[in-house]
């Protein structure tokens, strides 16, 4: 008779020894396979993040990097450049980031290569085609008009609605192309830049279009004419806009002076004085790639209250003519900054302007331009980003506190007050 639990256990294990051994062996194999697979997966992931054409372990590139480093140091020493270290937040993993927008409720909307993500109260919510909350497989850009959140994609445009999903609005809006590169709300109009021109819609018209009313004027005959009048392309502007493949759009205002629409495109940059008709080519000021030696494509542009700056694959460019002087004294002369001036990379992907400082997101990290000095930002804590795809500010005017950074692998932020 077996009475004590110990004896029971002993008997049990002696009779089931083979089964136990098999079970334990299989379990160990399964764990080993799992560990092997996951380490392999991690290896692949980390390599995918690597952005440079060549590897740091190839001797040829090492020597190139060395040369660049020495140029950087040479330039830094000679210009009295001082790099700074600040705290970076942890990375919140998302697919590669294309755009970031912080709305009036401090919700961070992120357009990515797999859909839209929303960061609200430290909680990240995915809106993807897979979970049925987003109609397309990709999101290029995101914008808030104060009432709706708009996401542009290579497949069309969609709107975040009351049901908590993005709904496809491509068929409601008369767009020149479904391939959308940028969406901008200027307080009165929604501007949508596409592969075949820029479309714009007044706020009153947006609700009509959403509700299926195709024209402000309800008569059928006028609708087509009305739609056509809201598209700017090479033809409708009589070559004022030099290319219809438009990418970034921006609106700049000089109080009590002038209002401007800036469009980057395949031929360079076109800037329209909104006081004059867009169909008159003389209303446009153009900077062509061929004449101005700007590398294609222009990745981003900003206005510092005086001049327009362009981020390109071969460096940062400033249009020497002040925007205020565009009407009478426009020239295509540029001032450029590159690795030779201390930039971490020539490839400037994104820029933002805040308090006399231009923040630069490059293929090799974050930098800023302040008082004619370039400073490379390194990490005192957290991990500094490598390939920055998008920068965005959180806050308004003097209350801007955070700089959001979108990369190939997610988003993170820095506190601008600590950087100052």
């Amino acid at each position: 008779m077996i009475n004590t639990p110990y004896e029971k256990k002993k008997k049990y294990f002696s009779t089931n020894k083979t089964a136990t051994t098999i079970f334990v062996t299989i379990l160990v194999i399964a764990i080993l396979v799992f560990i092997f697979k996951s380490t392999n997966h991690k290896k692949n992931d980390s390599l995918q993040i690597s952005k440079y054409k060549s590897f740091s372990n190839t001797p040829q590139i090492n020597s190139n990097k060395k040369t660049l480093e020495s140029i950087k140091h040479f330039s830094a020493e000679n210009r009295g450049q001082k790099n700074i270290s600040i705290a970076f937040s942890q990375i919140l993993a998302t697919p590669p980031v294309n755009d970031i927008k912080v709305d009036q409720y401090k919700r961070v909307w992120i357009a990515t290569e797999k859909g839209v993500y929303k960061l609200e109260n430290d909680e990240l919510t995915a809106f993807t085609q897979e979970n049925g909350k987003y109609p397309f497989s990709q999101a290029t850009c995101i914008e808030s008009d104060g009432k709706y959140i708009w996401a542009g994609s290579l497949f069309g445009i969609c709107r975040f609605n009351e049901s908590g999903k993005f709904v496809n609005e491509t068929n409601s809006f008369p767009l020149p192309s479904n391939v959308i590169w940028d969406v901008l709300w200027d307080g009165e109009q929604l501007w949508i830049s596409t592969q075949k021109g820029v479309a714009f819609f007044k706020s009153s018209r947006i609700d009509n279009l959403i509700n299926g009313i195709t024209s402000d004027n309800t008569t059928e005959d006028n609708s087509t004419e009305d739609n056509a009048a809201h598209i700017l392309d090479k033809t409708t502007t009589n070559n004022g806009l030099r290319s219809s493949w438009c990418t970034k759009i921006a609106r700049y205002s000089i109080p009590a002076h002038s209002n401007w629409l800036a469009v980057t495109h395949d031929n360079g940059l076109s800037v329209l004085n909104l006081a004059f008709p867009a169909a008159d080519p003389r209303s446009w000021k153009n900077i062509d790639h061929a004449k101005s030696y700007i590398s294609r494509p222009i990745h981003d542009m900003i206005y510092d209250g005086s001049n327009i700056w362009l981020g390109t694959p071969t460096g940062l460019m400033m249009i020497n003519t002040k925007l205020r002087d565009f009407p009478g004294n426009f020239s295509t002369e540029m001032i450029s900054f590159s690795e030779l001036h201390g930039l971490p990379s020539n490839n400037i992907n994104s820029m933002v302007y805040h308090k006399n400082t231009i923040w630069l997101g490059t293929s090799n990290g974050l930098a800023r331009l302040r008082n004619n000095q370039i400073q490379i930002i390194s990490d005192i804590s957290g991990k500094k980003p490598e390939n920055i795809r998008k920068l965005a500010l959180q806050g308004d005017g003097d209350n801007i506190t955070l700089l959001w950074i979108g990369t190939d692998s997610g988003i993170q932020f820095i506190n601008l007050q600590t950087a100052d």
């Binding site: 049990y12 089931n16 089964a19 136990t20 098999i22 079970f23 299989i26 379990l27 194999i29 399964a30 396979v33 799992f34 697979k37 392999n40 290896k43 692949n44 390599l47 995918q48 690597s50 952005k51 440079y52 054409k53 060549s54 590897f55 190839t58 040829q60 590139i61 190139n64 590669p96 294309n98 290569e113 497989s137 990709q138 290029t140 290579l154 497949f155 192309s177 479904n178 391939v179 592969q195 493949w245 395949d266 790639h289 061929a290 590398s295 294609r296 494509p297 694959p313 071969t314 020539n346 490839n347 293929s363 390939n387 190939d408």
Partner: protein, 390 residues
Amino acid sequence: MKSTLKKSYKKIRRYLKKFDRFQILTIPVIILLIVFSIDFSSKNIKVGIVLPLSGNFSSRTQSHLNGIKLAVKHINDLGGINKGNIILKIKDCDKIDTAEATRDLIYKDKVSIIVGGFSSEDTRIIQYLSEKALIPFLTGICTHFETAKATAYTFRTITDDQHQFEALSAHSSNRYQVKRPAIIYDNDLYGAESAQRYIEICSKHSQQVTNAVSFPKGTINFRDYLGSLFKTKPDSLVILAPAADSALIVRQAKDIGFNKPILGANQCASREFLHLAGAYSESVVTTLPYNPRAGGQKFDSFLSEYQETYGYKADFDAATGYESIMILALALKSIPENNLNLRDSLATLQVWDSIIGSGGFDNDGNQVRPAEIAIIKERQTIPISMEELF
């Protein structure tokens, strides 16, 4: 019926009671282990092709596509790469918008790489989309000098315009002592930027361009353009234009009586140019993206098989199409060996040996192979290095 079910349920329960809980737990673990170990994903590699296949450039692009298809056939016939076959997804960007074609290949067909391009604008669109989506783009046909510069995911297997212009300018200076070339270029394929680049290169060889004129797409009569060029008394004519336009320009220039050297970019080495210019093509100096003899026996086998398959002789577009897929195959093959992704694997290809000779990517992903200069004799492009043999 119910009683039968109950009986079988009891039977199973009785049977399972023979085993202890560890033995029963082993079953789901084994199932999980099997499921986890088997790779259910297809090993086939989807390659997206974007080319203008039905418009003005169809003669060249079809030839390029034939080269691509022949390479894929060879690879798949030999068992594919890493146990997977190459599957081509072809889009004609003359019929659908280039941006939409590329977008669909990347996001709907989920291709591993895009191959193609041709015109500089189409190539820029493909490049822009690929770079955003982190999908490699390989062109074996677009020679525009801007392509693959300051990019991370774009690679080019054909020698670019910059190298070709340098070779052409150097050769014209050394052989014909050209000092005052005139340039005629199209607004569509080469454009003002390429002409400007040629002018800059000329100054390196102490050449002063006398005049450069552009003509719009669809021009048939070039006499006015040529007239204004010849007024400046150039000692040579450089043509940067598509093959059909180049043929018309050569014919009309010679008809006017221009008897000085005529130099053309690689468009003048195409089958289309030779066919359209006919006897007028004699003595035109052109660039070749490669020396056909550099590939040796491999190139001969390619030529004969191409002729057998398609019924006509392979030109350089066909050869570069074939080469681009073979380079892709090399990169794909080394993925598991080096534990790399496709982009990084392509970036490591700094030296290779293909049917058209040795080549490699530089740090920008651009071809390092130097351009060859050829002269047209009896409607054949003869590399200068072999001129004395003919």
